[in-house]
Symmetry: C2
Subunit: 224 residues, 2 copies
């Protein structure tokens, strides 16, 4: 398998993460780099979704990916092999989330020249990552059908901080008691402005809508 | 829906969680109460598994359940309605895990007289709960088929602290690229002594094996 860069990131020494996140956001704006923070449970399909999406947009904008995991580099390698784009692995050393300083440590290892969009695949966890502003322009998350439509009731903060909820694995809807209307209703309870897009990363269904959302986001933000 | 007790637990003030966990374990041993700590990702089927299992063992031993969640009390209510046993809800106030002191706060609200087994359903999270000894005799976890067989590679600590891994949702094996042999191999990499039991909580398949494991565990421990 192809080698990828693996970065061991250290716990932030910054007590005031919000300020640090704002500073990072301004800095990235100055360099024309849009940062998306993508969160989800373990095994919701973040990596497969990214591969499908990046292959739809990589000829229109330049994309790089930072894959955060406690351990292993399988995801960063998968993305590099399947899309050819710049992909690095961040090891969080047991940490359950990324904050702005940890995100900055990752970005320091990305060749940002000419990059329009960096996607940060956060640690698989519906709790802690929601508590830390990474400096991203937007937060997005993936909820997969097998997890159930009740997750916004149990993980309120995650759903309230996300601007976009991708509901993945729609191909297995017939085999699970997942109610898409209830899911939309529960997401809206937490964040009335959040957009919900059902997708199936495996078959590619709906992924075009996520790709369009991303392209529009990056373009609007660049022209602001 | 039936009402259940909802306990708002507070963050532990004990710096030395391991000592506190040992103290709780001894105390519970003195009272003849076996505590099992059950962990998993969000949506892996902990509650459904518990309902099926408890209905198989509740005539043999007396069981109580503590359901920990950031928010909502749907799980505690479901268990109470479906099994008739004592079931309380712990709200962690945003906390991503339970430590020994938080577990004790929960146990203070369970009528322990005559109870043989308390099952703690930890917060849905493969990272933080693994870092804190709750005072349980054993840690068990559920990995569900849709999450993928590679999870022991990405969440090493969780798999290394668990004595039992239930692989749930085997009914959907035909629809996912899940390799049970690889799963067993990856689990063994983290903990060579961990037992793996494939189950389907929905259909009940394999749940009897988990029930037998629990009955044997509680009996062996009582006779130690």
């Amino acid at each position: 398998m192809e080698k990828v860069k693996v970065i061991e990131i250290k716990k932030s020494v910054f007590a005031e993460n919000d300020k640090d996140a704002d500073a990072l956001r301004s800095e990235l704006k100055g360099r024309g780099v849009y940062l998306l923070n993508l969160m989800s449970s373990p095994g919701s399909g973040k990596t497969t979704t990214l591969i499908k999406t990046i292959n739809l947009i990589k000829d229109k904008i330049r994309v790089a990916v930072m894959e955060a995991d406690i351990d292993s580099d399988v995801d960063a390698i998968k993305i590099k092999e399947a899309t050819g784009i710049q992909s690095i692995q961040l090891h969080t050393g047991g940490m359950c989330h990324l904050d702005a300083e940890m995100t900055r440590q990752g970005l320091d290892n990305v060749a940002l020249e000419g990059i329009d969009l960096v996607i940060l695949e956060n640690v698989g966890n519906l709790v802690c990552p929601a508590e830390f502003d990474t400096g991203a322009v937007r937060n997005a998350m993936i909820l997969s059908v097998p997890e159930g439509h009740d997750k916004p009731l149990k993980y309120p903060l995650m759903f309230s901080v996300c601007d976009l909820v991708l509901v993945n694995k729609t191909d297995v809807l017939p085999y699970f008691d997942f109610d898409m209307d209830k899911c939309r209703e529960f997401v809206a309870m937490r964040n009335s402005k959040a957009r919900v897009i059902p997708i199936c990363a495996k078959t590619g269904e709906g992924v075009g809508q996520f790709a369009d959302w991303l392209l529009a986001e990056v373009n609007n933000w660049k022209n602001k």
